[in-house]
Symmetry: C2
Subunit: 136 residues, 2 copies
Amino acid sequence: MFSRDAVLFANEAFYQAFAVADLVAMDALWAREMPVTCIHPGWHALNSREQIMAAWREVFTNDNQAPLICRAPEAFVVGEVAFVICFEQLPDAMLIATNIFRREDRQWRMVHHQSGPTPGHPSQLRDAQTPPLRAH
Amino acid sequence: MFSRDAVLFANEAFYQAFAVADLVAMDALWAREMPVTCIHPGWHALNSREQIMAAWREVFTNDNQAPLICRAPEAFVVGEVAFVICFEQLPDAMLIATNIFRREDRQWRMVHHQSGPTPGHPSQLRDAQTPPLRAH
């Protein structure tokens, strides 16, 4: 059984690489032994390492990229796979994300990221009110 | 090594339960042995079985709920965990989803669902053009 703390550490490394626009760190934390996929908010799916890193390169060279802070991450570990759900706080909006990690070379490496808009707030993560429907 | 076909079958069962508003089938396909979480588009995270099923009950009794069709699912299997990314086609919009499954009692059961808006289209899943940034 692997610890949730180690998964949360890997999740934090992801947001740290984002915060400082560190392409080398971002590249290092994505898995190499299995397919990787990434769905940025409002985007289609990127489903190759090349596409994913090209998108990060574009994000990191965009002067208008808003700073983003990870809030209220919660980790779920299932053997050698884990996922984290967390809020992503922008200056003017809140997003919510699913980040999937897999053990590779004794490290948790990212295999999938999806982020999308939410009306929620970190304090609502555990004490949620269902907003008006529809669900989809 | 478990087959991707079995994961895609479980994913299809999820959308079939949605399509026919079958609460019993929906309940049966979510995991029971580990925590489950669900992020509907534009919602906060639901992180208990009770919240998730209450939300489905609300969705299934909403006469304005639009029909939804799963398009271009792709499955990724990592031991006893798997995830599917797929498009969710509504009459007037396209969503994109991450569905995570875990083996329980020799079946793939859902442990997490996140869906959010995308400008993409199933044909773009493999041959994607990066849209204008920003990423987050």
